[in-house]
Amino acid sequence: MNATIAVLAALDGISYAALVFLVSVGLSLIFGVMRIVNVAHGSLYAYGAYAAATIGLAVAPISPWLTYPGLLIAAIGVGAVIGGFLERFLLRLVYGRDEALQLLITFAVFMILDNLQRVIWGVQPIFAAVPLQLLPNISVLGVGYTSYQTLLLPGVAILTLVGLRYFLRRTLAGAVILAVTEDREAATAIGIDPHRVFLTTFILGAILAALGGALASPTTSLLPGIGTDMIVLSFAVAATAGLGQIEGAAVAALMIGLARALAIYTYPEFEVLVPYLIMVVVLLLRPQGLFGTARMRRI
């Protein structure tokens, strides 16, 4: 493998890791606070992508620069509307119920959203690369690459990581969320409404998934099934890091992103295998994930 390919693989890996991080940190956040694995998380990614593409294709004739606010509006719109609706009218009905049922209700939502997505946007691939083409290409160690993928995507990911850390550790709203996570009963006793915390968390997580999708939309063609693949991938990242680990998700995303990119350039047939293989190995050695802390055994 020569240097050019190594640089290419690294750039691919980083831009890909940035997207996967956004989605998986949302999944991880929701699990950390609500103890629910949201199987429909990948659908939110897909809806974010499709919504961004739709808005982008509509506003591009007016001014291509409008596609950028379009990405953001798509992410927030999809996350707030679908995420809010799901938590308020479905998940709230199953809190405290059997874990299998909680998992399965999000699976039902996934089935519905997946079907609806094909009804709304069809099965033909959609291309919306305007935001990608607007920014110039840059040269990294002699390798040409889009600055959208080398600068913008990692930039957003880092901003999200720092922002989330700040929000959870330095603001009152964040402290409230952490309080409910640590001890729901005690938090309720001092006057915190856990339902509001759950709603906020779920919407925040959903927006992150949709943002990942919106930002991914210019870099790829949109097809049915992008959400179905993304959910397991983000799951692999979140589980490798340890569910609920925010900084860990960034490291795991980078690890899996780089490994996958390396596989594409060396053994392309193993591309899809790599993330799951890493997940299996990590979970076997450290079931709580690389950065998770071991729980006491249930008695």
Partner: protein, 319 residues
């Protein structure tokens, strides 16, 4: 779990009558019924694990293993006999179940589910990408085998396969129900209610779960080889995570309180899919999702739970 529910016996007899009579009335139902029974066999395995409170979101790997065992045999050895295929499917499901099981039975709840998912996705990506051996996403066609040495016409084969599947389903149903009512089955349920106490009794919870896991993997392999023969193809989709979700879905829909729930759930699931996709081309998945939500919210013990409640019997416990 109630020991005997007369209403369930009645339901079993209705099922028997349906399998024997319906195909005579409408030949188009033959394949559908066989599919229902084959999937029900797989879902029996999910129900076993649900007794222990464990949800496997990767059970499609055994289903896929069974299907590809048949497909590989056909491709590399030559068309064999259906009974041989079944043996092959069951063994490959069981061996894979033992290997994976040795790892996963150390974990519970979300970790158990995640590891299963991870293993199944590894198998899926291998099937999808080892194009040389598996034809990738196109899958491998499965030629029509003989059954117990007898060759059949395409139509005769579908009937023979239906009755064979039915026989296996009935046997599996009784064996699983007996297993769940045996001491080993009760220990399995103790893993859900209080694993520590179970261990204080001197029982290895891991071993109890491993037995259940291997049994459920064998059922998955059997079901997979049946479906491969029914649909005459094996594709990587067989091992994809949505397939695993589908099996858990059917288990909850039917009700995990009784082994018969597997077949009740599979019947409703496949009929809704069959008719909804015929009538409303592109909405069957939405309809099924809606059905699932209604069941979870209103009848968490599933169809079997509804049936038992109506007759005033002790309702089976939810999953």
């Amino acid at each position: 779990m109630p020991r005997r529910l007369p209403v369930l016996v009645v339901a079993g007899i209705i099922g028997l009558a349906a399998v024997v009579l319906l195909p005579l009335l409408s030949p188009s139902l033959v394949t559908l019924l066989a599919l229902i029974l084959a999937k029900g066999i797989v879902v029996l395995g999910i129900i076993i694990l649900l007794q222990a409170g464990q949800v496997s979101f990767g059970h499609a790997m055994f289903f896929g293993a069974g299907a590809y065992a048949v497909a590989f045999y056909g491709r590399y050895v030559g068309t064999g006999d259906m009974l041989l295929y079944l043996l092959f499917g069951a063994v490959s499901g069981g061996v894979l179940g033992l290997v994976v099981g040795l790892f996963v039975v150390r974990y519970r709840e979300i970790f158990f589910g995640m590891l299963n998912l991870a293993f199944s996705m590894v198998l899926w990506s291998l099937l999808e990408k080892m194009f040389h051996y598996t034809n990738g996403a196109d899958g491998i066609r499965v030629a029509r085998p003989t059954i117990a040495g007898m060759a059949f016409t395409p139509e005769g084969f579908s009937y023979a396969l239906l009755y064979l599947t039915f026989a296996i389903a009935v046997a599996a149903l009784f064996i699983v129900q007996r297993y769940l009512e045996s001491p080993l089955g009760h220990m399995l349920r103790a893993i859900k209610s209080n694993e520590t106490r179970l261990e204080y009794l001197g029982v290895s919870a891991r071993r109890v779960l491993l037995v259940g896991y291997v049994v459920s993997a064998v059922l998955g392999g059997l079901g997979g080889s049946l479906v491969a023969a029914i649909q005459q193809i094996a594709t990587p989709e067989f091992a994809y995570w949505t397939k695993s979700g589908e099996f858990v879905f059917i288990a909850i829909l039917g009700g995990a309180g009784h082994a018969l729930g597997a077949f009740a759930g599979a019947t409703v699931f496949e009929f809704v899919r069959f008719y909804a996709s015929a009538q409303l081309a592109d909405a069957w998945q939405m309809i099924l999702g809606g059905v699932l939500i209604v069941i979870i919210l209103l009848a968490p013990a599933g169809l079997i739970g509804l049936l038992a409640r109506r007759r005033g019997a002790e309702p089976p416990r939810a999953a």
